[in-house]
Subunit: 89 residues, 2 copies
Amino acid sequence: MKKPPRTLTAKRTFSQNIGLVRRIKNLSQEAIGEKADLHRTYIGQIERGEVTPTLDAAERVAHALGLELWEVLQPDFSVDALVGQERKQ
Amino acid sequence: MKKPPRTLTAKRTFSQNIGLVRRIKNLSQEAIGEKADLHRTYIGQIERGEVTPTLDAAERVAHALGLELWEVLQPDFSVDALVGQERKQ
């Protein structure tokens, strides 16, 4: 009766949304890296799904984009949410 | 004009909520570790904030508790949400 483990999707959702928001905001990987205090190549690796960041590193990247980590991890995260976020700030 | 970096809260929110849900569900660290394929001592370390899990490890723990990672990371996550989740399943 043991259920099969659910597929892990957080890493992928995170990397996709991070890349999406970064491009929408027209920011370079270098700019995000500087804000998040992470190397720009690491930002690239995150976006390509080559590395799995810790909660801390992931949160720093989200913050560098003006977002909270839980927001970026939502499967239904959309640009609309981003626009809402911008208005609140 | 450089804004100070926001405080990192995801790790703490995660560890607190994980511990809370685990106790509400009356599950042992060992049971969660087994479900998440992580050592029970690692579950304890996460709950005490001694380690910072990767997105993958954090998601496996959340899934072991029947939740999604983004849900557990929400600062306003509450037992009410958990009850709602249970009903949906």
